[in-house]
Assembly symmetry: C2
Homo-oligomer: 369 residues x 2
Amino acid sequence: METVRVALDARTYPVHIGAGVIDAEALYRPHLRAGRIAVVTNPVVGALYLERVQAALARAGASPAIEILVEDGERAKSWPGLDRVFDALLAARMGRDGLLVALGGGVVGDLAGFAAAVYQRGIPFLQVPTTLLAQVDSSVGGKTAVNHPRGKNMIGAFHQPAAVIADVGTLATLPERELRAGLAEVIKHGFALDAALVAWLENNMERLLAREAAALTHVVRRSCELKASMVAADERESGARALLNFGHTFGHAIELGAGYGVWLHGEAVAAGMAMAAELSVRAGLLPAVDAERVRRLIRAAGLPAAGPALAPERYLELMAGDKKAAGGRARYVVLQKVGRAILRDDIDERVAREAIAASVEGAPAAAAR
Amino acid sequence: METVRVALDARTYPVHIGAGVIDAEALYRPHLRAGRIAVVTNPVVGALYLERVQAALARAGASPAIEILVEDGERAKSWPGLDRVFDALLAARMGRDGLLVALGGGVVGDLAGFAAAVYQRGIPFLQVPTTLLAQVDSSVGGKTAVNHPRGKNMIGAFHQPAAVIADVGTLATLPERELRAGLAEVIKHGFALDAALVAWLENNMERLLAREAAALTHVVRRSCELKASMVAADERESGARALLNFGHTFGHAIELGAGYGVWLHGEAVAAGMAMAAELSVRAGLLPAVDAERVRRLIRAAGLPAAGPALAPERYLELMAGDKKAAGGRARYVVLQKVGRAILRDDIDERVAREAIAASVEGAPAAAAR
């Protein structure tokens, strides 16, 4: 087992990574409280891992946890999904001394984390991520949210977990498509922050796709380290942490334009990174050869390296509602070189339009390369 | 104008109190941001004060604020009420650089404050309270929430305002019943924390009921000072701040048992204080003569000094869901003397039952006194 610490003064917390950690009662024990425990999960993940979590909690000395099942998929991140959690907690009379456990992927983590953030004005929670995306990204950093019909993650809170228990063994049951989607965030960490991780991925993609535990542990640990350092420096994303949104402004537009759930988040981020890399080149910031490295690694992970063929105007419209826009100005996370993302809000709209046109499916420029 | 500071390090904020401060553009100016402003209010308060707030914002240099009207009354503190705010903010494309203004009483403040806490994971907001209850209590301290069918204020956040602008001039238009309800919280501050305030109230109740500006400014300022010191010591109510809940555990049970809105919050708190005082006496903590002082001051303010005649069992049941209960144990805020509330979780349930029976409408014991 490896442990990464997210340093946030009194709210510093550990991220435990390894095969089999989901069963380690010692990792749960420090977080038990006087009140009840509730595990939020979905039927698919629940069928696979709920019993093991209950058993570990029992060995840690807890009474049986309330089990709350929410819908599978992004639709659960909604008011009805949230209300299902609140209703179950209130029916069980959980007090402010309760504890939530989020068992599942990013959707369950975001939803249960937000429920914990606002239930009786906030109770602690544990993240037990069971997808690669959640292990390398969403379970660390305290961003929680639900969607609004007018935009993804529009309603949420910063609420750090008390601990993250990331069992790479659970990735064995992950559908292939979701494994690849999770790799998008690993690739993002590399291009945005760590050239050495990019090089490692270029050499080890096959081991990851074969789900080798050592390789998975390596990328989960390295991703958590990178994310932890960004979160520690800028918990509420007022500055540096926004660099972690590399690929996400375009990615959110893709998800929103296609309708939530048509593209997986990681797939949209992958295409979004390719688009942001193209924008970086056309804004004169990045050598074209490095944008090609972005696309090549994305394709090696079996991910889409171009956005859906919507009009540039439509992309700009979809991005205007994005919360990353400041004062109405479009703000982009672009690359200066491999391993160094920067924030820019001075990119000409015409350049953005051209970059979009050149980086969507069927674009002549993209096809030519 | 008087200004009280709520000391919370980087989030320290001023509470400006006086007649006419709602028009003082200089109080708004420091809080303007790059993005848009939205004022949340209800039709009644909006008709009276929205134009003046817009004018002050305009003099401060802001563009016209988005106006969001929510239902009048406690029903607005619900998901539909919240969603109306989110929908208007998203339709206007307010970004993370926006600002909310809560113009109204406790309902608007709680609702708009919670909306600000979770909109795009949190934006700043100003409190412009126009009821006595909001000026002396709910607008200060950062407690925000909406109700759930299973309990009041069950979903919420701690989110401090950037400033509070409390214009005692707006109390001129307050319905008599709401003025009296607001006095309940002033009385609470006195009995829980400040014997001098109790003595002042015993001598000046008529001036308050006649809405004398100097008298109102005095109690608003003193209440805000007392509340500010509790909030600064214990922002998230893990300890001392809970003393401000004197009368509230019984009060919430009254509101819940009667159905929201039948009793005003302040009326329920008034009766709740009388019940908590009776409990304090029967638990051997408070001289009976001091409980009589509690009831006398409550009656002088024209407020109910007894709870509705529900069975003690029903009260206990209604209170069991209250978030002040820790680990399932009933926790009461009781009085040790006038001006000193304490927290106790060791009060015998039989004593609580007897105290309830003796402090509800038509109780022989209460009638005898």
